[in-house]
Symmetry: C2
């Protein structure tokens, strides 16, 4: 075992690309991923799993077909499975995602924003 | 669906008792729990699951039989399953735990620090 903390700011300093989640930890069959976001993401859903968003820096809006939630640093939200959603950030924000290993960022909606999975930093 | 963020500071303002995790969210069969800690916890292990510690405020040391890790706000650590550990905080700290629903805080070591499960705030 490595007795080394995983520091969010240190991980965030290691990349600049947007909408491209980087794995920083695994717990059982779940992954913790940091991602930087700005602008609009694609509408999508994850049919088999909930998805947790924790805002580390900045602010994030998650739009749903019937409403939206506005998150800022220190907030979290659980997007229920099989629920269409579209993240949006007016200015750059840093997010911690928690979801099962293997979940694709764009869910059922393959697009140019679909990112490679299992990219560790 | 409630379009309401879950704010860590707001949740932490709702309780003062130590070593008594409060559930703030569920994702699939996992729970996110806030807990305030100070002093020594009991040595224990969770035989069937990893356990995630995220430090929200203050500092936390997790001792292992063969080492320790020192965490501060903005750090996380994954305690592997079946690994004896003992959290310790010199001054009060606030922690976010992520673990499967049903995990008991003292694992295999029932003690006076064993807390009731599924206490939502």
């Amino acid at each position: 075992m490595h007795f080394k903390p995983i520091n969010f700011n240190e991980k965030l300093s290691k990349f600049d690309d947007l909408w491209s989640p980087k794995v920083i930890a695994e717990m059982n069959d779940y992954q913790f991923k940091t991602v930087k976001v700005q602008g609009d993401f694609v509408w999508h859903k994850h049919e088999d799993t909930d998805e947790v968003f924790i805002v580390l820096e900045g602010a994030l809006i998650i739009e749903f077909r019937n409403g939206e939630v506005a998150l800022k640093a220190g907030d979290m939200f659980v997007v229920p499975k099989n629920t269409e959603h579209k993240p949006y950030a007016e200015t750059q924000a840093s997010i911690l995602l928690v979801e099962p290993k293997g979940v694709v960022n764009t869910g059922d909606a393959t697009s140019e924003q679909t990112a490679e999975n299992d990219v560790w930093i």
